[in-house]
């Protein structure tokens, strides 16, 4: 039985990371991994904001990546990323692949999205930290 808070995190974070609904087996693995690595994040304003306003996850992730790389949000996302990577349904997203012009466009798009999210995320993170 996955605790409700972790179940909710698994749902939101899986959708954020791979744009798919979470599989119950993945949620169960996520709960075990969080317990093993003692990832609670209880009372953390950044995590609370992510759960309340899921649209902010990407910005806060990007802000933490630059400003607070060891933040519980980042750690939880890494744990779930590792679990998704070692699942056949998602493996191809993580494997090397050949590509043409479309791939170059996707690369440029990802880089631009990363920069935009980082700028907004840093601003958001500072506001949250000030309020806390």
């Amino acid at each position: 039985m996955v605790p409700p808070q972790l179940e909710r995190e698994a749902q939101l974070f899986t959708r954020y990371l791979v744009s798919r609904p979470v599989d119950p087996a993945i949620a169960a693995r996520y709960a075990v991994a969080c317990e093993r690595h003692r990832l609670t994040g209880a009372g953390d304003p950044v995590l609370a904001a992510c759960l309340r306003f899921p649209a902010l996850i990407g910005f806060l992730d990007a802000g933490c990546a630059l400003h607070r790389p060891q933040h519980p949000l980042r750690r939880k996302l890494f744990v779930l990323t590792a679990i998704l990577e070692t699942t056949p349904d998602h493996a191809d997203r993580f494997l090397p692949r050949g590509f043409g012009a479309g791939g170059w466009l996707a690369l440029a798009g990802a880089a631009a999205a990363a920069a935009l999210k980082a700028a907004v995320g840093l601003w958001l993170l500072r506001r949250l930290e000030r309020r806390a």
Binding site: Y16, L17, V18, R29, V32, A33, R36, H37, G58, D61, A62, A65, L66, P69, Q70, R74, R75, L77, F78, V79, T81, A82, I83, E85, T86, T87, P88, A91, D92, R93, F94, L95, P96, R97, G98, F99, G100, G103, W104, A106, L107, A110, A111, A113, A114, K117, A118, G121
Partner: protein, 547 residues
Amino acid sequence: MSGTAAPPDLDFLVVGSGPSGVHAARTLLDAGAKVRMIDVGVTRDERAPMPPDRSFLDLRRHDPDQYRYFLGEDFAGIPLGKLRAGSGLSTPRQFVTARVDELTPHDASPGAFSPVESLAAGGLGGAWGLGCFTLTPAELEQMGLPTDGIERGYQTVADRIGISATPDDGTPHFKRGIAGLQPGLDLDEPAEALLQAYARHRAALNRRGVHLGRTALALLSRDRDARRASAYHDMDFWSDHGGSAWRPARLLEELRRHPRFEYRDGQLALRFRGLAGAPVTLTCHNLRDGREEEHSARRLVLAAGALGTARIVLRSHGGEGRLPLLCNPYYYSLCLRPGLIGRELRDRRHSLGQLVLTHDPRRDGSRVTVASLLSYRSRLLFRLIQETPIAVPQARAILARLQSALTVAGIFHPDGPVNRVSGSLRGLSLVPDRHGPAGDRLHIDFSLTDGERAAVAASQRVVLGSLRRLGCWPVRTMDPGMGASIHYGGTLPYGADRGTEPGTGRLRGAAEVWLADGSPFRFVPAKGITLTLMAHADWVARQALGS
């Protein structure tokens, strides 16, 4: 205290079952000696899942249980937090460092030195990258080692373990003088492309003292006895199916079938005593019943690793004093190969070091810096995503597309000679600690002087500049901290008052004790020292037999 009466004909006690211990024992047995090996002997939990004998891509795409062996059933194989020594060990190999914190504790100034030690059967050799490097006469001389004896040891060890290598520009620098090698392993496409680029820039690079060659590996390219040639499954980081990779545990298994060999695991060696001409008595902590136990033999060979042996020697001298320490400064650099972006690469490959770049600033082989080059694929992308300071989905999207074009350069710098390093900045001593079974822990001081840092930075600039010239652009260089090279030595150096007798390998002040690991090395070269450790162990064993 419980006692174990020594059989009257027990010739040698060997402490440790790592690369040095097993080769010392093999040489002693071959000469007719009776040998008992003392070891903690941690083994892998047989219940823990291992990857099936299939290729990396096949497993990744089809095995629903892959997380069990890639991450561990409790997900302990997901390294979180700052990069540190040993965090690169794959889940199935993490047993190699199990119980170290509990049984052989250490402390160091925070962030100053983080050693990787092993109490496993087979020692750190269970996670060895299999790179085999011969050293130049100039390097051997600085280490205090006899060139003839070590070169004979290289051949002995190569005949035992099987080495695959291709003659090329690297031969004079790191794989000279060994006969009977297997043909080199096939390269992957990024390595082939790098060699082609090197051929174009060879003259200019050679003028700067830079050479590039294929790595010699203790990985078979042809079947040998019961061992199969590499299947190129790209799973070498995770498993040893087919026995193509040589590991000390393999030789330990052979030794255990020998009628004159006895393996005592569950024993943590604490200290020894013995006068000239009298048997040596080794006191151990028996991990099964928590009591002390004694073993006696005519002679003792210590091969517990430089740090493990230092603990035993310090305790045997009453816990007093301070010993020196050498360790390679080590960094790794993630390099991007723009020419390979978007290219579809072959699946058939091995995961180990493909090429070695050497920088010999003095052109005499005495202070060579080494970059070991391998492609990034089978270590899983999440480790790299973790090191990338952007949002996770974008990091994944970018890195997955760039993955074929990523090369990891592990850059090692030499350290020593021991008489030139600052004794005030580096050293080992024992301090009381009631939590450890020995009642002590190893205190380690280790930092580089400004001059040492400058020399490392200068050589690193040449190595990274040479890689750029080959179309391999360093995008991020990471410092996993001192100790991460996993090459330690110089604790009981050849020729030092409190060290090892040159020409014999015998510990000074202890007539019947020999040191077969890296403890006596007066210099730690940048090249991987595992082959030299094994050759040295063979040489020390021959000295101990002949004394």
